[in-house]
């Protein structure tokens, strides 16, 4: 009989970390289907790697799941029509980061899916595909990392030559305050996620998988523990609540006590990490032949009428989600795509939801303003908070002084931009802003 998850000691990462208020306001809101928008705008780059190549023309009629942009090379991803209808204008639009990218507009008509897609809720447990077939299917379905990074998933499940993976870690941490998309998905689709884990294990050729979930999601830990009682290969690891535990490097340290050497990948220490949302998308891609055309998005904020978790078609304008959650609160000063620690403030509410959009957060004007800045008092709190063991206060000074060479020697490129230093600074210094500046300059040094 295996150990119950609750009997296990809580684990966490060793360096740094902060404890922002949880504010998981939407934790009890069940997943709900967002009504279809009138039009969707789908950027052809929603991933790390080469942009996809548009293969449709204005005026074409498309079905849900049809490829509208084809991947270019291995590190790239297919883009599918998330709604049926007619292709409208294909032009550059602004994404949540403020960059302009080519995007395909679809005037939505009906909800007509490709016949090859299994849209039923029936759980398909038996995995019939081989390793290579799984990689091909995931690639075809355009699945990318849904935790935010957007790295093409097929590239992560094809084990590189000469490397051995011994453990698959499933990231169910969701350490960003407010966000509950992964939490709800775990509660409502646990068996699908577990099949997804088995698919990944087969593709990677590993016999051990660990699902890391933070202790503020007791119900999810319990649920997975229950479904995995008889499973000898997959276990649940409860984790202490601490930001940024969902960072790949931090999660690997927390779960396995391994460190990914600077500049290397988790595969170099025998680990691959996938997010639960991605795992679910991989299940759908492989077992249901369904491409990544929708995802769960949390819509939340302290003044939001109905904090919600929606199934949203990719390309839906953010304003539609906000309207469905009760409208933009009067107090709103900032709208963030993603969580409050790493998310991006958006200027325009027409920005489309992308594969990596985990949440829409509305922050009140009063909380938006940055407080008065004081001199650095060398309290060391940023060092205490940094999960990479850097000295953020020093990196800020070096950045201000334009000392790129020195910044590089102080390992500025190891920074994962989690924001813990800026969050914790009692002098309200914009530490991460300066570190980002410095990173850009240091990258140009090479």
């Amino acid at each position: 009989m295996k150990n119950r998850a609750f009997d296990k000691e809580l684990k966490t990462f060793r360096l740094g970390g902060v404890h922002p208020q949880d504010n998981k306001l939407s934790a009890s809101a069940p997943l709900a289907q967002l009504p279809l928008p009138k039009q969707v705008t789908i950027p052809i780059i929603q991933h790390i790697g080469a942009p996809a190549k548009v293969v449709v023309q204005r005026g074409d009629t498309v079905k849900v799941g049809q490829v509208i942009a084809q991947h270019e090379g291995f590190i790239s991803s297919n883009i599918h029509a998330s709604c049926s209808g007619r292709i409208g204008i294909i032009e550059e639009v602004m994404d949540s980061s403020g960059f302009k990218h080519l995007a395909v507009n679809i005037r939505v008509k009906g909800d007509d899916w490709l016949e090859t897609i299994d849209r039923t809720d029936t759980l398909v447990e038996e995995i019939s595909l081989s390793r290579d077939e799984i990689v091909a299917r995931v690639m075809e379905a355009g699945v990318v990392g849904m935790g935010g990074a957007g790295f093409p998933s097929h590239a992560k499940i094809k084990v590189p030559e000469g490397k051995t993976i011994d453990t698959l870690i499933i990231n169910g941490v969701e350490c960003e305050p407010y966000l509950t998309a992964d939490h709800r998905l775990m509660l409502e689709k646990p068996r699908e996620i577990i099949v997804g884990v088995r698919i990944l294990m087969r593709a990677l050729g590993v016999s051990r998988a660990i699902i890391g979930i933070e202790d503020n999601k007791h119900d999810a830990i319990e649920l997975f523990d229950e479904w995995l009682r008889e499973d000898k290969q997959i276990e649940v690891q409860p984790l202490e609540v601490q930001y940024p535990q969902g960072g790949e490097k931090q999660l690997i340290q927390a779960v396995l006590d391994r460190e990914v050497p600077s500049g290397r990948l988790p595969a170099d220490v025998g680990v691959i990490v996938h997010n639960v949302g991605t795992t679910f998308a991989i299940y759908e891609a492989v077992q249901k032949n369904k491409p990544l055309v929708e995802r769960v998005v949390t819509v939340t904020g302290k003044d939001v009428k109905q904090p919600s978790n929606f199934w949203v078609r990719i390309g839906t304008p953010v304003i539609e989600l906000i309207t469905a959650a009760g409208g933009l609160p009067e107090s709103t000063g900032k709208v963030v795509s993603g969580g409050p620690m790493m998310g991006k403030a958006i200027a325009d509410l027409e920005v489309p939801v992308a594969k990596g959009t985990s949440g829409i957060l509305m922050i009140a004007q009063a909380e938006t303003k940055r407080a008065e800045e004081y001199n650095c008092v060398h309290c060391g709190k940023c060092i205490e908070a940094c999960p990479m063991g850097l000295e953020p206060y020093r990196l800020l000074l070096l950045s201000k002084a334009g000392q790129s060479e020195k910044s590089k020697r102080e390992n500025v490129l190891d920074c994962i931009e989690c924001g813990s230093c800026s969050f914790v600074c009692p002098s309200n210094r914009p530490i991460l802003d300066y570190i980002r500046l410095s990173k850009t300059k240091v990258k140009k040094l090479k």
Partner: protein, 329 residues
């Protein structure tokens, strides 16, 4: 609310509640128990000295900003109030007002503002002022009112336990004999002893430490390490020859070890930034304190020890880096 008015700024979009004014307020609250004990022991003298010191320090900072530096006064951050309180904690409770004024001017003017104000001073401002006064007014600075609750401004004065010890040993007496003349350890712990205004009660200072740890204003590294270092080192000497050296408990409970370890050495600005650095710094403070107490000319060495270690902080910060992730050799 019009869309075009949305704020766009880089992440993170939330911030901790613990900002500089909150931190300073927390430190001030943490000093209150010690101040109360002092008022109980010394009566109005404690209130008078502390009040004047705060007033002079804050006033000095205000005036320097306003008239010399011509910039917005920074006293609202609360750091001048702390400097004032700490300076008062480090002097006898019957100090005349003009000495307090000089001390405040030196603390804030030379110790802090001449380097650019909050965050830039290499030495603890209150200690700079205190040591300046000790060297300039040796008589006034070492005439310690005795801890008898009195509500008049002139009480009797006498030596501190450390002073009695130092003078007695010089006169050829033994430690056990000298201990007969002193209050019990319980009295030391609760603060019924002579000494600087805020340093007497280990109990009250420890309450302050607990509060600051609870509010996550400071970490345990400096106070615990420094007190432990003093305890262990004096313990070794005591073990070798208990007739010549006082017990470790005596050394930890008397003089400024508690005050220094909890409130002076933990000053953000003048202590190292990494945990490793903090431990090295605190060991240094402890060792120097003990060396001065046991072998130096002064009966007490906490202020000098911390000031000397302050000078090493930039070096410590440069050479003792935090453990980096993923860069094991």
């Amino acid at each position: 609310m019009s869309q075009s008015l949305l704020t766009v700024a880089p992440s993170p979009h939330i911030h901790t509640e613990l900002t500089i004014p909150q931190v300073m307020r927390g430190v001030i609250i943490a000093m209150v128990p010690a101040l109360l004990v002092s008022v109980y022991n010394f009566g109005l003298g404690a209130v008078y000295v502390t009040g004047l010191s705060i007033l002079f320090c804050a006033g000095a900072e205000w005036a320097i900003c306003k008239f010399l530096l011509k910039r917005e006064p920074t006293i609202t951050d609360g750091s001048a109030v702390i400097t004032g309180m700490l300076l008062a904690f480090n002097v006898p409770s019957n100090l005349p007002w003009y000495i307090i004024l000089i001390g405040s001017l030196v603390s804030v003017g030379i110790g802090k503002m001449s380097f650019g104000g909050l965050g830039n001073n290499p030495f603890n401002p209150a200690l700079v002022g205190r040591v300046f006064l000790l060297l300039s007014f040796p008589v006034e600075m070492t005439s310690w009112p005795q801890a008898v609750a009195t509500w008049s401004l002139d009480g009797t004065t006498g030596a501190t336990p450390l002073g009695i010890l130092k003078d007695g040993l010089r006169a050829g007496e033994t430690v056990p004999a000298l201990m007969q003349q002193m209050p019990s350890y319980t009295d030391f712990f609760f603060g019924f002893q002579g000494g600087s205004l805020g340093e007497m009660s280990a109990f009250a200072l420890l309450i302050g430490l607990g509060y600051m740890l609870y509010r996550k204003i400071i970490t345990w590294h400096i106070p615990v390490t420094m007190i432990a270092t003093v305890f262990v080192m004096t313990g070794i000497f005591w073990f070798i020859d208990p007739t010549r050296f006082a017990s470790p408990l005596f050394h930890v409970l008397t003089g400024g070890v508690m005050l220094g370890a909890i409130f002076m050495a933990t000053d953000y600005v003048t202590s190292p930034v990494s945990h490793k650095g903090m431990i090295v710094f605190a060991i240094g403070c402890g060792v120097l304190t003990v060396l001065i107490r046991l072998f130096g000319a002064y009966p007490e060495g906490v202020s000098f020890a911390i000031l000397i270690m302050n000078a090493f902080v930039p070096l410590i910060n440069t050479y003792l880096k935090p453990v980096r992730y993923g860069r094991k050799k």
